[in-house]
Symmetry: C2
């Protein structure tokens, strides 16, 4: 089996490292950054790198696209004739509904695109921060569509477990985008907004415990990627932000009104729920 | 030198463990929980435990009060005649201004209370989660008052560095409460509100990456302690919540208006600021 990874950034590089352990026949990589391809070859995490996708795609049974959302659609469109007959394609994109609709409209009939989302990453970007460790024990979401063949979905699941993920959940693209709006996008919006609220004009790092550092780690954000992700999921995300605004407002009002009982109830509710999270 | 630790919970227990390494003559502990005292004696992190503070206080040169804010005031008042002549007292309380004012009003003239705040903790409570590791490399704030003798402030600083803290910053009680409203209390309000916004009715843990888990760890909150802390610092905290609400609202509006440039600017601003934090 030959595999092509398209986009050799943090996630693409981590896939290459993790897949290498499963001993596929060849791992190819496609990227516009020749230095990254060269580095990956030297690290022996890929067998060969290409700036032009045609050659590796024509012989690859599995293609893993690790590009920003808008580039995924463009890549598929530009390369629609280059894919091997009956190739399986998957992605790592953080939003699904709109993208799946657009891609499935232009997809060749013999190709099977099984859309996936590894719930794993880092605050850095680029191959130099790649690590197969980032996948160990993490969650994965697959959003099967009517076009998908069951055996191909099963195949992707086997690969995902094989590279170290712990849980795979299969849900619809609509469910995915709603859930991710809450569990991933909202935390990023919050972290960014918290850092932007810093008006101490001091060396903030001298006055922090773990809490501030943990809440703001992900504010070291890849602005371009997350702008795309937020905009493409705006309806769900705005709803989640507004639910959050209501909840923080409830805490604020309990404090303003010096309502000890209500404040304690709100804290206790969160504490019990968080302790119960697996 | 004899030391008494009042309150043998997570922080008091951690102090006992860390202080033991500095080889003081005796470490005594005062708590209403006899089992905790007995456990600490068996662990050899204290020399003797007492449910009545009178005996240990009378021979202690340093008293470290690790109680909830309201109980600190009560403890001082109830034991004002029990402290050794010229004893140094310190605390670990997360709010300062109101407490310092109230305590200094009733404090015996020969006693020196150097108020402090270790920026270190855990989401659990109780002696069983104590660890001297929690202090290693952490920040400490001391809020000297006019009553304090310089040599006693210096003494507390030496102890604090001795048990593993990395930075000590000295600021006024007013500055402390404002800063802590932002760096500590606001993150806790946010974490609680985020968990309370979970209306997925799903096993949330299956759909999370590190971001949600990190942002909500501290939602496993000691409700009673933090209700006191929030209420006693309500003016500062409410201001910080409102600044945060403005900032999250700015992100929300950029998304609603599909203003890519503005959204990217807000993300980039946070990213640069957070990366620059020491």
């Amino acid at each position: 089996m030959n595999i092509t990874i398209v986009g050799l950034g943090l996630i693409g590089g981590s896939f290459a490292m993790a897949l290498k352990e499963l001993n596929p026949k060849n791992i190819y990589a496609v990227d516009i950054d020749e230095a990254a391809l060269c580095k990956a070859e030297n690290m022996k995490i890929i067998d060969k790198g290409y700036t032009n996708a045609e050659i590796p795609l024509k012989c690859s049974d599995l293609v893993i696209i690790c590009l920003y959302p808008k580039l995924v659609k463009k890549f598929i469109k530009d390369n629609i004739e280059n894919f091997k007959h009956k190739a399986i394609i998957t992605d790592v994109t953080g939003i699904k509904k709109v993208m799946i609709y657009e891609i499935n409209e232009t997809l060749r009939k013999d190709l099977d695109f099984v859309f996936g989302h590894p719930m794993a990453g880092r605050e850095q970007k680029g191959l130099e921060y790649s690590s197969k460790q980032v996948f160990k024990g993490a969650n994965y979401i697959i959003t099967p569509t009517e076009r998908n063949q069951e055996k191909n979905v099963k195949f992707i699941e086997d690969v995902v477990y094989g590279i170290g993920f712990k849980n795979i959940t299969k849900i619809t693209p609509e469910q995915h985008d709603k859930i991710i709006g809450f569990t991933s996008q909202l935390p990023h919006v919050i972290a960014v907004s918290l850092v932007n609220s810093d008006n101490l004009n001091l060396n903030t790092g001298k006055f922090t415990g773990d809490s501030y550092r943990e809440l703001t780690r992900i504010a070291q954000i890849n602005s371009q990627l997350w702008t795309e992700l937020f905009m493409d999921n705006s309806e769900n995300l705005v709803k989640e932000i507004e639910i959050f605004e209501k909840n923080i407002n409830a805490v604020k009002n309990a404090i303003i009104n010096q309502d000890n009982d209500l404040l304690m109830t709100l804290l206790e509710k969160a504490s019990v729920k968080r302790k119960g999270m697996s």
